[in-house]
């Protein structure tokens, strides 16, 4: 299973590599530098402390956004999903808030929170928050009455109910939506880092682009993608570890 997974990754990387190479031959290497140039540029970059400062800034922002969104949206979602009365009160608010493209609020967020890390983290958090909230709530809604009766008659308290029923029922859905928001949050990260900052991979990419330094730009793109892949695989691994009952 694990080896197959790695093999698939290896094959995909090789395929991209080959397509990239062919494309760079077709387009000419000033527009699309061939992979060898990018990799040698990459090796030069990763020994630089400056490069890692950008990676660190991006990693910090996206992790902070994910963690804050997770710690607020999940408990709230689970609470609403298992308390129909509160759910009815808050549902309209959620339905109103969810479809608003939060990214258009960026100027306001920048005005309120300034141009530093804070505003970037707030924006990432806001975008992930609703996605996680709705997933957690819907998962908690699916709880079978028989399981509720069962836990109550076994002497379970309200807290036991969250611990032994609501949380485990919702976990698979939460991991699925965490994997989905990974893509979104990397995209948002790139966007917010391309404006008004001189740290982060978003800036790194845009800066290289402005200088027409395409090899460096591609190094940045690969680094940002790698952050996404690492997050995705971490969630996948955690899901397989914590939700064994789904695929025993």
């Amino acid at each position: 299973m694990k080896r197959k997974h790695l093999l698939a990754y290896g094959a995909t990387i090789l395929l991209i590599y080959a397509l990239w190479y062919i494309l760079s031959l077709l387009l000419g290497s000033t527009i699309l530098p061939d992979p060898f140039i990018v990799f040698s540029q990459g090796f030069m970059e990763i020994v630089e402390r400056a490069f890692w400062a950008h990676v660190g800034a991006s990693g910090f922002r996206i992790l902070a956004g994910l963690i804050i969104a997770f710690c607020t949206a999940i408990p709230l979602g689970l609470f609403l999903g298992s308390n129909p009365r509160f759910d009815r009160v808050f549902s309209p608010l959620i339905y109103l808030g969810y479809p608003i493209p939060k990214i258009v609020l960026m100027p306001i967020i920048f005005v309120i929170f300034g141009l530093g890390d804070m505003s970037k983290i707030v924006l990432i958090t806001m975008i992930i928050f609703f996605q996680l909230l709705i997933t957690a709530r819907d998962a908690a809604r699916t709880i079978d009455t028989e399981v509720i009766y069962s836990l109550k008659s076994l002497g379970g308290t309200r807290l036991d109910f969250y611990r032994h029923v609501v949380w485990p029922v919702s976990l698979p859905g939460i991991f699925t939506s965490l994997r989905i928001v990974t893509g979104t949050s990397v995209a948002v990260l790139f966007f917010v880092e391309s404006i008004g900052t001189n740290k982060g991979l978003g800036f790194y990419i845009i800066d290289a682009w402005g200088r027409a330094d395409y090899p460096t730009m591609f190094v940045g793109i690969i680094a940002l993608s790698t952050i996404g892949i690492i997050l995705y695989e971490t969630f996948d691994l955690l899901e397989r570890k914590l939700c064994k009952w789904k695929n025993p």
């Binding site: 028989e146 399981v147 009766y149 069962s150 836990l151 109550k152 008659s153 076994l154 002497g155 379970g156 308290t157 036991d160 032994h164 029923v165 485990p168 029922v169 976990l171 939700c243 064994k244 009952w245 025993p248």
Partner: protein, 251 residues
């Protein structure tokens, strides 16, 4: 066997489900008693309110009218003295059999020795399933895990909702006898809901027959229940036939 004062007392029980302007009275004017070491079988057509009755006794559903007392105290919520095996077993799909079976004891802080656990599993024939998840079990195995979980709570009263529905006849008869022996040894009283006349006559010293018009039709006395020899006696077949007639006469 000495039957002492009442364990359970049910008086004027009524349950009406209402949603909006719709309301439906499922049970009405149900009264009966259950003594210590006694047993009651509840039979009746599908949808007559058997599960509803058990849920009310278990303190999980409030009655619309009437009340239930356990050892003199009115039942207002789940009690540690009552254990329930639900119709669809109520196992938690995300916990292994091993974790499911000890869950109630863990929640109620009941200490269970390894020996007791082993013996209970052996009695029910579920020793080798600990690491599996409920989805990996057969229906009959799930039922027995749920039974084990209830037995480990050492309740005074066990409520069983069609506990053998998913089990073949041979295993079912073996389990009925096995369970009766366990109950007798551990001094459990129980209420068993069933669709089977034979099961009712074999397991219930009283038989409560419900109908679809929200009332009790009959309470039959069946003092020989629980005796293995009784099952192959002519009286057993006679009483099964009697019960069949009562049920067939229902509107």
């Amino acid at each position: 066997m000495a039957i002492s004062r009442d364990l359970l007392r049910v008086r004027g029980l009524e349950k009406t489900f209402s949603s909006g302007s719709d309301s439906k009275t499922v049970l009405k004017d149900i009264s009966f008693d259950l003594a210590y070491n006694d047993s009651l079988a509840v039979v009746g057509p599908s949808g007559c309110g058997k599960t509803t009755l058990l849920l009310m006794v278990a303190g999980l559903l409030p009655p619309t009218e009437g009340a239930i007392w356990l050892e003199g105290d009115e039942i207002k919520g789940p009690s540690k003295k009552i254990a329930l095996v639900l119709q669809h077993y109520g196992l938690l799909p995300w916990k292994t059999v091993g974790a499911n079976i000890t869950l109630g004891a863990k929640l109620q802080n009941i200490g269970i020795s390894g020996k007791e656990l082993q013996e209970t599993k052996k009695e029910l024939g579920i020793e080798a399933l600990d690491h599996l998840y409920p989805a990996q079990l057969s229906g009959g195995q799930r039922q027995r895990v749920a039974l084990g979980r209830a037995i480990l709570l050492r309740p005074s009263l066990l409520l069983l909702d069609e506990p053998f529905a998913a089990i073949d006849t041979i295993t079912r008869e073996r389990l009925q006898s096995g369970l009766l022996a366990v109950f007798k040894r551990r001094r459990f009283s129980f209420i068993v809901v069933t669709h089977s006349f034979e099961e009712a006559v074999f397991m219930g010293r009283k038989i409560l027959v419900l109908d679809n018009r929200a009332g009790i039709r009959t309470v039959l006395n069946n003092p020989d229940a629980g005796d293995i020899a009784f099952r192959s006696s002519p009286e057993f077949f006679e009483r099964s036939l009697e019960l069949r007639r009562v049920l067939e006469d229902l509107p």
